[in-house]
């Protein structure tokens, strides 16, 4: 097969959605081909149908209401959509393999990894059974897993997320398929782990000259590994072409807007006024340790140092970003500062009040000075109250007259870009981005001195994310807000934060003005983080 041969051809594919869905087709009239020895990235936001398109190839529809109604998917000349079930099963796993987003749930928790990987061999090549174990160990080594013997006998919960994803990849490659479909395989991983997995996929594709169909929403990832790119929106293919074409010279407005929405790693210039301002919040000596496990009868306790000696200060009007991966302790710090979780030790000064030492009763009154915006747009608003009630409740609790509070709520809704009539509606009637705006309005209702934003845009699509970040920037200018911004995404931090603190395993390892830190990171971990940001150096053209 020559290099530019098509391995998988999707022709005019249309997949229907059930009658109660918000649109008639999940995928509409899509034509795309995947060629031998290339990585094709299909990129789109949530609801674009990219995942369903990938699953349609192997006939993995989520329910019998979601069915293909038109088109063909040709693999080696045969239409997979019309294939007999036995033939489709024969193709699955052996000729076309798939890996998924969340390896913890994608693996059976009660079977060992070795058993699960061997299963592919058992099902497709039962005659190889004797040599199965050896093959599995080979594959585990091929994906650079340490101690393959141990992993073979381990259960999914006993290894880390990155290792699980490697095991999944090993499972997919066991029977040497022509095609690998990867459905957002790095979305659930930390940025450093993601970098490793992306490198692994690139290596595997290159050595085996496979065709890889890589689904993602992250343009950084696309820039990192794609040979060709296809952009999807609302079930349709909007644009496709080589990586250079799509990234440097996008033709369609949608593609252009998506690319524009991706936050750049280059930080915004510092705002001069802030350096002179008085200190709005000072935190020092923040300690928090979590203990779990049995205490008596010799049970083993697990100790996690979520925060160790954390200290920082924020000037009035400044935005300080705390950046870290999962387990770094950044969320713990945010919650301790807001006193939603009680730290073991801390000095938290808001203005000249020792916020950390206030008694429960005085704390309740003082809480209005430090407000929070949360990460999960679907869990941060009480579904049983109207939006207006949710925003007005804070001031009412602190003694504002209800009519005044309500009027303020309407003003705030306008401030965050929503219609005043939204106040009478319930949270479930709004989209994720709109809910975050409501959350912001709620936080602003009490006129706080400090706003803590705990990963406020992490759960949003990139275009919505850009809008919310713009809103945040706008609001903080207008109200001269002091912001503590928690995020795992360095690119977002670059856009929004004046100073940043990098956290790792409970400690701040780097702290300084954003521009300085980005230009010359001092700590090794910070450099590692920067190196891991996908798409910093674009993929060299293939020779």
């Amino acid at each position: 097969m020559s290099e530019s041969d098509t391995v998988l051809a999707i022709e005019s594919l249309t997949v229907d959605l059930p009658s109660w869905a918000d649109r008639p087709h999940a995928v509409e009239d899509l034509t795309l081909d995947l060629r031998h020895n290339e990585i094709l990235c299909v990129v789109g936001e949530s609801g674009s149908g990219k995942s369903l398109m990938a699953r349609a190839i192997l006939g993995l529809f989520p329910s019998r209401h979601v069915r293909p109604s038109a088109g063909r998917i040709l693999y080696r000349g045969e239409d997979l959509l019309a294939a007999a079930p036995e033939h489709l099963r024969a193709v699955r796993g052996s000729r076309i393999a798939m890996i998924f987003q969340e390896p913890m749930t994608a693996l059976n928790p009660v079977l060992t990894l070795g058993r699960q990987i061997e299963e592919a061999i058992e099902v497709h090549q039962p005659s190889l059974r004797g040599a199965a174990r050896r093959r599995v160990l080979e594959m585990l080594s091929a994906v650079h897993l340490p101690e393959p013997e141990r992993i073979y006998g381990a259960y999914p919960h006993q290894i880390s997320g990155g290792q699980r994803q490697r095991a999944m990849i090993a499972m997919a490659l066991t029977l040497e398929p022509d095609v690998l479909i990867a459905d957002e395989p790095t979305t659930a991983l930390d940025v450093t782990t993601q970098a490793q997995i992306l490198a692994l996929i690139r290596e595997i594709q290159a050595t085996r000259r496979m065709a890889v169909l890589f689904i993602t929403h992250d343009f950084g990832v696309v820039a990192e590994i794609a040979d060709r790119i296809a952009v999807m929106q609302q079930g349709r293919l909007v644009e496709h072409g080589s990586a250079a074409e799509v990234l440097d010279a996008p033709r369609e407005p949608y593609t252009r807007s998506l690319l524009a929405a991706v936050p750049s790693i280059v930080p915004a210039p510092p705002r001069a006024a802030i350096v002179q301002a008085p200190v709005a919040m000072r935190v020092s000596g923040l300690e928090k340790t979590y203990r779990s496990g049995g205490v008596f009868l010799g049970g083993s306790a697990r100790v996690v140092h979520a925060a160790k000696g954390v200290a920082f200060e924020i000037r009035r009007g400044e935005t300080l970003g705390i950046v870290g991966e999962s387990g770094s302790g950044k969320s713990t710090v945010a919650r301790c500062v807001a006193r939603l979780v009680e730290p073991d030790a801390a000095e938290i000064r808001v203005g000249d009040t020792d916020f950390g030492r206030l008694s429960r009763r005085t704390l309740r009154e003082a809480r209005r000075r430090v407000q929070m915006v949360f990460q999960d747009p679907y869990g941060s608003l009480d579904p049983r109250h109207t939006v207006g009630n949710l925003i007005a409740e804070g001031p009412i609790v602190h003694g504002t007259a209800p009519s005044v509070a309500w009027e303020r709520a309407l003003e705030l809704l306008e401030l965050v870009g929503l219609d005043r009539r939204s106040a009478a509606r319930y949270p479930h009637e709004f989209s994720g981005g709109q809910r975050q705006r409501i959350g912001l309005a709620r936080a602003l209702a009490l006129d706080p001195e400090v706003l803590i934003a705990d990963e406020p845009v992490s759960a949003l699509d990139v275009s919505v994310q850009a809008q919310v970040l713009r809103l945040l920037a706008d609001v903080r200018e207008r109200l001269a807000l002091t912001v503590l911004f928690i995020t795992h995404d360095l690119r977002v931090a670059a856009q929004v934060c004046d100073s940043i603190a990098v956290m790792r395993r409970g400690e701040i390892v780097e702290y300084g003005l954003t521009q300085e830190v980005f230009a010359a990171p001092r700590h090794a971990y910070t450099r590692e983080l920067f190196a891991a940001v996908p798409g910093r150096e674009r993929r060299r053209a293939r020779t």
């Binding site: 059930p18 109660w20 989520p62 329910s63 019998r64 209401h65 919650r335 807001a338 939603l340 704390l363 309740r364 009154e365 003082a366 809480r367 209005r368 430090v370 407000q371 929070m372 949360f374 990460q375 999960d376 869990g379 941060s380 608003l381 009480d382 579904p383 049983r384 109250h385 409740e393 804070g394 609790v397 602190h398 959350g439 709620r442 009490l446």
Partner: protein, 275 residues
């Protein structure tokens, strides 16, 4: 509200259950009108089979079986509802406080409910009623005592889960008092589970009550379905209807309550349509 009623109405078994339940309640309320006088009264010769003068016949002492069944409905429903109401109130309160505040209150409650799970609840009810001598009061007390721990565990679970949800954290960060958070934010979200479990508990309470009265542990002044069955045991070979009819009454009532309870569950927690 209207949305909920529509979802419930689409569930045919639940509607059937509701109809049956309403019929049973109506019969229970109208008992003194339908069959005035005491159901313990001897009205005819014993062991008359059904449909010969008396709808369900007579029992071994010559009492009208139909009157016994109709009056028994009042006892079962009253005890079932009262005992459940007490159990729900006590259980939900304890569970809610334990789930919200955690710490020592929670540890104490968990130990307590664990203990209750170890003691066979029916045996415990028997012991309680025996020790306190069988009256309506002791029966209601016994059933409440063995029924509140599961409710407490359920509510604790719900409150604990919600305590960590971001919308509750938001309330805390806004400086709301615990009472306000519990009553205005957590409880309304936990209410549907409490309602569903509570309605199913009524069915269990009726089963426990009938079991107790079958063993002879019922208030001697009140007519009860289990009591009729227990008394009629000796005549099982010949006058089998004395045992059969009250049992069918229990079965139908309990089934109706279960269907309504499940209908409530489906209507209050709509899940995505099954594949």
């Amino acid at each position: 509200m209207r949305e909920f009623a529509r979802r419930f109405a689409r569930n045919r078994p639940a509607l059937a259950g509701l109809a049956i339940l309403l019929a049973v309640i109506a019969i229970a309320l109208l008992a003194p009108l339908l069959y005035p006088g005491s159901p313990f009264a001897l009205v005819a010769r014993p062991f008359q089979p059904p449909f010969e003068g008396y709808l369900f016949g007579t029992d071994q002492l010559g009492r009208d079986l139909t009157a016994e069944v109709v009056h028994g409905a009042r006892t079962s429903l009253a005890i079932g509802l009262l005992a459940t109401a007490i159990a729900v109130l006590v259980g939900a309160t304890m569970g809610g406080l334990a789930g919200y505040y955690g710490g020592r209150i929670d540890a104490l409650l968990m130990r307590f409910t664990e203990m209750f799970q170890t003691i066979p609840f029916f045996l415990f009810a028997i012991v309680l009623v025996t020790v306190l001598t069988p009256t309506i009061g002791s029966v209601i007390l016994a059933i409440s005592v063995v029924s509140w721990p599961p409710m407490a565990r359920l509510v604790r679970g719900e409150f604990l889960a919600m305590r960590g949800r971001e919308f509750v954290l938001a309330c805390v960060s806004m400086g709301m008092s615990d009472a306000r958070i519990i009553l205005r934010h957590i409880l309304p979200n936990a209410l549907s589970s409490i309602i569903v479990t509570g309605s199913l508990m009524v069915a269990t309470a009726i089963l426990i009550e009938s079991g107790l009265s079958f063993l002879g542990l019922s208030d001697p002044n009140t007519m009860s379905w289990g009591y009729v069955i227990g008394e009629g045991r000796t005549a099982l070979r010949s006058a089998w209807w004395v045992c059969t009819v009250p049992g069918i009454a229990i079965l139908v009532t309990v089934m109706a309550i279960n269907l309504v309870g499940e209908g409530l569950n489906d209507a209050l927690n709509p899940r995505l349509r099954s594949a």
